[in-house]
């Protein structure tokens, strides 16, 4: 642990309300853009008539696909998402036109007058319908609604089922979830006199934003400069959609040569932005009489909606981590992404794991109950240990495999064993039934075999001894800038106040990938370590003579640079001045490349991730016999994150992630009718309020990870991915009712 106190470089700016988010930024002469939707869910031959809208005084222009100088369709994997639809509508979230006016009020008024005609076709709205033999093919590419199929072929489960004492087959279903960032998407784009378009947007991936914008404008990436500003949360949800909002505003700014602002209402955000994939999962699990899981077969179907986005990556993680942190010799998995005419799905914190964990961690408890073995025992027998092989054939010998240590810490803190024996199992003398449940997981850190994984950092020493730091990791609210500063201060042995985190733009730092996948801390801080090493080498080389020692003997600590004795030292002010006098720029660049991973897609085997975060969460609930209402009483969450760099922020991530997981477990669900989302705001889409939450205890387990240059892994996603099955297990232990779909609900009739 590096620091005990809470450190946030942007803390005061945010608490005082001074931090500027996209909609808080204004430029003289700004025009306002709003999107136009159609009530059509799926239609061909779409024609947009904006003639009436253009008659509204102050309405400047209505843009359609015809006005796009570049390509309207783009995407991270398949270039299928229409930033403006051309002639085909595939979902209720599709944008048919963009109205630009002198004020937002005028733009809204004019947008009501845009008329959209099209020939409706019967939408495909369920996975079942999409998979029918003669189903209409939804995507613009390919010849099937199966847009991706990942396979795992590990051993031969079919041959092993005969040898099993117990076979459990079960279906599970998870709901559609909205990321629910508090700040809806917004962007303001400014055409600069030198031809560059500046973008200030609420997005979590500046480089993705630049790619979407470059595609729409038909311009090189160097023409577009995306700045980092305060972002009101992302949770995976501010990649594609948020990038597209920026690209649309940039299109307006380019065509009209004026600043253009586009700020989404909550309803537009809920309607258009991608959600967490709903899954249907089927599992067949074979177990010996001793509780050893011998064989697993699973099929999963994820509703990708009308566009691909990152469905292949989300479902890949579900494949690579298809049965929890367990070492099982015979596993076959088939995981499908299925296109429908629903609003598309994409990245959200957890990314294909919360759905799987909801099924597998309940299956483990079901096995325990059927074999009359303790749930902890079943987990201990099967969990990965040091040197274990995972279901992808990866041997876990490069880091500390702390699954049991992490589980024990939660079990001890919450008092699981004693409380487990007190569970009501549907019988109690009062109206309240009591239950406790737990779940465990491991999570591959960073992208793994999903994609290219590297990150850069720049250290720029100033003449007066102050230091500018920037990295390719984006601040979405999680506190990444503060982490990078703490790591640099530690590496250089300097006070934090020397460091100013420079908010980078896409023109100042190389593309370091997106700030997703729990990769900010592990990738960003490792890149800072490498840049700091290069920086120290440069300084040592040029200061050794002044310090009367060799470069190898120069050390950095106590906010000074040292030779071999107390007499030989330089303040940072002196040292930086010395370098400038020597005509040497105190500037260093560092890139951290993730350790190698491997993957064979034909059999779903390989070293999927270079390291794993181990987690265990437990929950206590009471369930009211008369109403069926589930009340959370207590939550404990332990995570081995390698090393805590900013302890308070780690706990903040744990509590925030658990809370989002509680929403998934108990209250959140995007509802639809005929392809239209009916839960468009927080009155109907219920994210947890302060009064919905129990006492929470976060436990940080630290086994420094040799794959990370700081020893730190990450916590963003692990915190969310396993509380729903823990609560489901607690509800079962309270009521005797197994909930296999989300959000959990208990019919009081069944309790009588």
């Amino acid at each position: 642990m590096i620091t005990e106190k809470t450190f946030r470089n942007d803390g005061y700016a945010k608490v005082t309300g001074r931090a500027a988010y996209a909609d808080d930024i204004s430029f003289a002469g700004t025009l306002h853009m709003v999107p136009v939707y159609s009530d059509l869910i799926a239609a061909n031959n779409v024609v947009v008539d904006a003639s009436e809208a253009m008659k509204v005084p102050g309405c400047i222009r209505v843009l359609t696909a015809k006005d796009v100088p570049g390509t309207t369709c783009f995407g991270q994997i398949e270039q299928d998402y229409p930033m403006l639809i051309t002639d085909t509508i595939r979902s209720w979230g599709d944008v048919v036109a963009l109205v630009i006016a002198e004020t937002r009020t005028i733009a809204l008024e004019a947008s009501e007058l845009v008329v959209v005609h099209g020939d409706p076709v019967k939408p495909v709205l369920t996975i079942e319908d999409a998979l029918k033999p003669y189903a209409r093919v939804v995507p613009s590419y390919g010849d099937s609604n199966i847009v991706v199929h990942h396979r795992m072929r590990h051993g031969d489960p079919e041959a092993m089922f005969d040898q099993c004492e117990l076979i459990i087959e079960e279906d599970f279903e998870t709901q559609i979830i909205e990321q629910g960032y508090m700040e809806p998407e917004a962007a303001i784009c400014v055409p600069r006199h030198d031809g560059v378009i500046e973008i200030y947007g609420s997005m979590q991936h500046p480089f993705s934003t630049r790619r979407f914008t470059g595609a729409l404008l038909g311009e090189p990436l160097s023409n577009i400069e995306v700045y980092t500003i305060a972002v009101g949360g992302g949770f995976g949800g501010k990649d594609d959609t948020a990038a597209i909002v920026c690209a649309r505003a940039a299109l307006g700014a380019r065509l009209l040569s004026r600043p253009v602002k586009m700020t989404y209402s909550r309803e537009w955000s809920m309607r258009e932005s991608y959600k967490r994939h709903p899954y249907k999962l089927h599992y067949k699990v074979g177990v010996t009489s001793e509780g050893q899981i011998l064989a697993v077969k699973t099929q999963m179907y994820a509703d990708s909606g009308a566009y691909l986005s990152v469905t292949p990556w989300v479902t890949w993680r579900s494949t690579a981590q298809c049965f929890g942190p367990y070492s099982i010799e015979h596993v076959h998995a088939d995981v499908y992404g299925v296109a429908t005419n629903n609003v598309f799905t994409g990245a959200m914190r957890g990314f294909g794991s919360p759905q799987v964990n909801f099924a597998t961690e309940q299956l483990i408890d079901m096995i325990a109950q059927r074999l009359n073995v303790h749930p902890l025992g079943i987990r201990r027998i099967n969990m990965v240990k040091q040197g274990s092989s995972t279901v992808t054939g990866q041997v876990l010998d490069q880091h500390t495999v702390s699954m049991e240590e992490v589980m024990n810490s939660t079990v001890h803190e919450i008092g699981y064993r004693k409380k487990y024996d007190r569970c009501s199992h549907g019988v109690s003398e009062t109206d309240e039934l009591y239950g406790i449940g737990l779940s465990i997981s491991y999570r591959g850190a960073s992208l793994g075999a999903e994609g290219m994984d590297f990150c850069s950092a720049i250290i720029n020493g100033q003449y007066d001894g102050s230091i500018l730091l920037e990295t390719g990791i984006h601040e979405n609210g999680q506190g990444s800038e503060s982490v990078m500063m703490i790591v640099l201060a530690e590496e250089l042995g300097i006070q934090l106040k020397r460091i100013r985190y420079r908010r980078s733009s896409t023109s100042t730092i190389p593309d370091s990938g997106t700030t997703v996948a729990t990769r900010g801390t592990i990738m960003g801080s490792s890149s800072v370590v490498i840049a700091a090493k290069n920086f120290k080498e440069l300084l040592a080389t040029h200061l050794a003579e002044r310090l009367k020692c060799t470069p190898e003997e120069v050390t950095f600590h106590n906010d000074k640079i040292w030779g071999l004795t107390f007499a030989q030292s330089l303040t940072w002010e002196e040292a930086m001045k010395e370098l400038f006098l020597q005509r040497v720029t105190p500037y260093a660049f560092g890139t951290f490349k993730a350790p190698d991973v491997s993957w064979d897609d034909t059999v779903g085997q390989g070293n999927a991730y270079f390291t794993y975060v181990y987690s265990c969460q437990a929950a206590e609930v009471s369930v009211n016999k008369k109403t069926g209402k589930i009340k959370l009483l207590n939550v404990v969450a332990s995570h081995d994150i390698g090393k805590a760099i900013n302890r308070a922020m780690v706990l903040g991530q744990i509590y925030g992630g658990v809370t989002q997981g509680i929403g998934m477990a108990l209250s959140e669900e995007i509802k639809r009718e005929d392809g239209k989302i009916t839960t468009l705001n927080f009155d109907t889409y219920k994210i947890p309020r302060i009064t919905d939450l129990p006492e929470m205890t976060g436990i940080i387990v630290e086994n420094s990870d040799p794959q990370s240059l700081t020893g730190a892994k990450g916590i963003g996603e692990p915190a969310l991915e396993l509380i729903a099955p823990a609560i489901a297990n607690a509800v079962y232990n309270a009521t005797g009712i197994r909930c296999t779909s989300l959000p959990l609900s208990i019919d009081p009739q069944e309790l009588k």
Binding site: K5, T6, R8, D10, G11, Y12, A13, K14, V15, T16, G17, R18, A19, A20, Y21, D23, D24, Q179, G180, Y181, M182, E183, P184, A230, V231, G232, G233, F235, S265, R266, N476, G477, Q478, G479, A648, M649, L651, G652, I654, Y655, G656, G657, V658, T659, Q660, N681, F682, D683, I687, R689, I690, T691, L693, M696
Partner: protein, 157 residues
């Protein structure tokens, strides 16, 4: 349009406005008070919280016509006061901030609470902040922020 006269952050102000328009838009767009945030536009999230005659309200739900002769307080007016500084420092010290978008509203709700109840219980804090949504923190450190402000601010509330 009609002339609206009210008190904004301890200063009298008079301006032309549409009485049916939202107080939120008047504050953000016309008066440039951007600490007031819009998260939902329907009174569910509390990001636009301000004090109207000392009472916590969602400014997105307040028509400008109803603030005639009222006192409106926003974070801009409170952040340099003893009360404001106390709660701001407590929030910063406890790590109550992540993305920060809900934070100004949380600060306003906390000030409204502590002015009426300088020593709130945990349950009282939860009830007072129940109109404010936060998606990042799980609220734990926000609660600790309010508790710290209550402890440190003995006498000022």
């Amino acid at each position: 349009m009609s002339t609206i006269t009210f008190r904004l952050n301890e200063k009298n102000i008079s301006l032309e406005a549409d009485p049916a328009s939202r107080l939120l838009d008047l504050l953000r767009e016309d008066l440039g008070l951007s600490a007031v945030k819009e998260g939902c536009g329907e009174g569910e999230c509390g990001a636009c919280s301000v004090l109207k005659d000392g009472v916590l309200v969602n400014s997105c739900m307040v028509p400008v016509g109803t603030i005639e002769h009222c006192s409106i307080e926003t974070l801009e007016g409170l952040r340099e006061t003893d009360e404001g500084r106390c709660i701001i420092e407590a929030f910063a010290d406890t790590g109550a901030v992540q993305c920060g978008f809900c934070t100004p509203g949380m600060v306003m709700a906390s000030i409204a609470l502590l002015r009426s109840n300088a020593r709130p219980t945990l349950e009282e804090i939860k009830v007072a902040l129940s109109g404010n949504l936060c998606r990042c923190t799980g609220y734990d450190m926000i609660i600790k922020g309010v508790q710290l402000a209550a402890e440190r601010g003995d006498g000022i509330w």
